[in-house]
Symmetry: C2
Subunit: 388 residues, 2 copies
């Protein structure tokens, strides 16, 4: 059977191969420190579990409205008020099957064949594949430590062509943990708006910032599309739930797509998510945020001591994107070496784009401080023993 | 903001507008008999609920393998053995976010821009929109009562062009409840295979047949793609879980798509679904099947007595597709009349394609026998009072 032409442009998630290798080694009895996974080790918060268990108890688990439970859309709107001091009409909020579902709906509703989207490189691997899936063309904006791994208005302006449909950025970003300063985000929007384009801001790591708050892009304009998720900050990865905030005039188009492509988001996940905004859940999430910061503050200096170069301090998410040039010629070779010889799993740059991937590696601080320390010690022995 | 060109070809689910009208009337205190919804009124089976509650209790609800939990893929393979006497390699089974996710993955992996798919008309509304979403072109095969609302090999052969990528059929079908006889399905496959095309068979209403069994298309060839779901027969609509059975050489391509578009199916839904194959669940589902048959056997003669023409007896699913010509000129007008004046909701043909939709209406027997009888009595009064 012949595959669709789009499949040539769609690469696998390489980190999954690495996870399979880690699993195989563990099956042989080896102990592996996992710094490759973009999934925190924290369980779903207790009030969220309780809400799900209560809801499913009588078995009445039916389709919901395709845009999500009205009370969840209202609760999300309420969160924008309490967290950001912002009024958002619940009618603009679309509950989705993870941020993945949000990306598919937003890009699907806006991307005609051959439309181009500007995406940062490095960036979240799936973004370019979503664009390609919708028959669009992903255009990489190479970013590096000199601009804190985020695009500048100048770079976006000079990268813009007649085919450019819009710009997709993330703040905090994967794999770099880099934020976009509010003033810079406003400038990005100015460039995009002046060209009649669309700005999508991925805010799925919001809430996970250390030392500063990330304002939502919705403060700048109601015409910006914001993507968020219950996975990362709210601790609900396996439930697959996220949301979109849309300009009002896009809601009907996205609703038609959501009806046809998804019928509805998961009912148990939506009922569970209602409990994420309870005071006791938010208190727990704040404790976790402090723990994430403590983990970063172990891993960041530890990696630097080993010889990894991290020029721009990551201020959010749970990733450190490190330049490995002083330690190895090729991050994929180094990743294999580290997992096989040192028992440490980390993600080579390959997944995140074409901008110097062989010189970079992503470390995730999604495991406990103890494990991070163990991982650092193992790498120290590895490099000290001439592995370097 | 300009919408993607594909959005012109994507229509809303009209039944949802009708459901909104029903809800509004109910909010005013009106009692409505619901025969418009393709969702059974049965709760999720108790063992399935229990499995979900046990799994989520400790909060460790994480991403799963993008193709699904290995034990669920094995359990589904086991179901093919016990139910159909067929050996299916679990490696060919892909767990998806409902049959919706299965359609997106299969059509996304196979449809290049302008590729054409042959679809029955009437048929499941979303099918043509999935094709359009993937930049393919849906081509309607008009079917009617003379061929039991299913396509014949001759019709497929004469509808095939150089642009045709494949054929998508459902057995039992929505909105007609019609099955494809095994010998005819083999002939359909012969035509498709001889032209180098792909056959996708939607089996989401399998298990819900009355008076005869539906063999799976996998008995004919491993190269046929089969779509199934935990929603209908297994009673798990709101959980959003389904599956694909793929020819071995397609698995890797679909895996790449699944990694990028979904990350993983819902973990609680997958753990819950493991309990659908337990003997006590299957016993309960068999009781429900008998209840569905009893409901059909009330609604079918009842509609005929009222003047609806149902030439081909529906043998599966939970739908009756009725010709309304003797009662009204326009099914959309009749649907509005029935809901507003008689308090009965049913779906006009409009959703299901362009083949005589104004002459047809779909009745779903997804509510209790009592309610069906009440709905029939209301319609009798309505037509008797000159509403006809």
């Amino acid at each position: 059977m012949q595959l669709a032409s789009r499949m040539e442009g769609i690469a696998p998630f390489h980190v999954m191969e690495l996870m399979a290798k880690a699993k195989a080694l563990e099956a042989q009895g080896r102990d592996i420190v996992h710094m490759e996974v973009g999934e925190p080790d924290f369980p779903t918060p207790r009030p969220v579990i309780d809400a799900a268990r209560t809801f499913i108890a009588d078995g009445r688990v039916f389709y919901t409205h395709p845009l999500g439970l009205p009370q969840l859309r209202e609760a999300i709107a309420g969160f924008y008020t309490t967290r950001y001091g912002l009024t958002v009409d619940p009618a603009r909020i679309v509950v989705t099957a993870g941020a993945s579902g949000a990306l598919l709906l937003a890009l699907g509703a806006l991307t005609s064949p051959n439309d181009e989207w500007l995406l940062t490189d490095p960036g979240y691997p799936c973004n370019r594949h979503f664009v390609r899936f919708c028959e669009g063309v992903p255009r990489a904006l190479a970013v590096d430590a000199t601009t804190h791994f985020q695009p500048t208005a100048e770079k976006v302006g000079s990268g813009w062509t007649a085919q450019t449909r819009g710009l997709l950025v993330a703040s905090p970003a994967n794999p770099t943990g880099a934020l976009i300063a509010p003033a810079e985000l406003a400038r990005l929007w100015q460039v995009v708006e002046s060209r009649g384009g669309t700005l999508i801001v991925d805010e799925i790591y919001h809430g996970l910032t250390y030392g500063l708050d990330a304002p939502t892009a919705l403060e700048i304009s109601d015409d910006i599309i914001v993507i968020n998720s219950f996975s990362k900050y709210f601790g609900m990865t396996g439930w697959r739930l996220g949301w979109l905030v849309l300009p009002p005039h896009l809601v009907r188009a996205v609703e038609k797509l959501a009806q046809n492509l998804f019928i509805s988001p998961s009912a148990p996940a939506q009922q569970a998510a209602l409990a994420t905004f309870l005071p006791e859940t938010l208190t727990l999430l704040e404790e976790r945020r402090i723990e994430f910061r403590a983990r970063r503050d172990i891993l960041l200096p530890g990696l630097r001591t080993l010889g990894f170069d991290i020029a721009a301090e990551p201020q959010g998410a749970f990733y450190i994107y490190a330049d490995i040039s002083a330690l190895s010629q090729d991050s994929t070779v180094l990743a294999t070496e580290l997992i096989e010889q040192a028992g440490v799993a980390a993600t080579p740059g390959l997944d995140f784009g074409d901008n110097a991937p062989v010189q970079h590696m992503r470390f995730a601080y999604t495991v406990s401080a103890d494990k991070l320390i163990k991982g650092l010690e193992r790498m120290q022995r590895h490099f000290g023993a001439g592995g370097r």
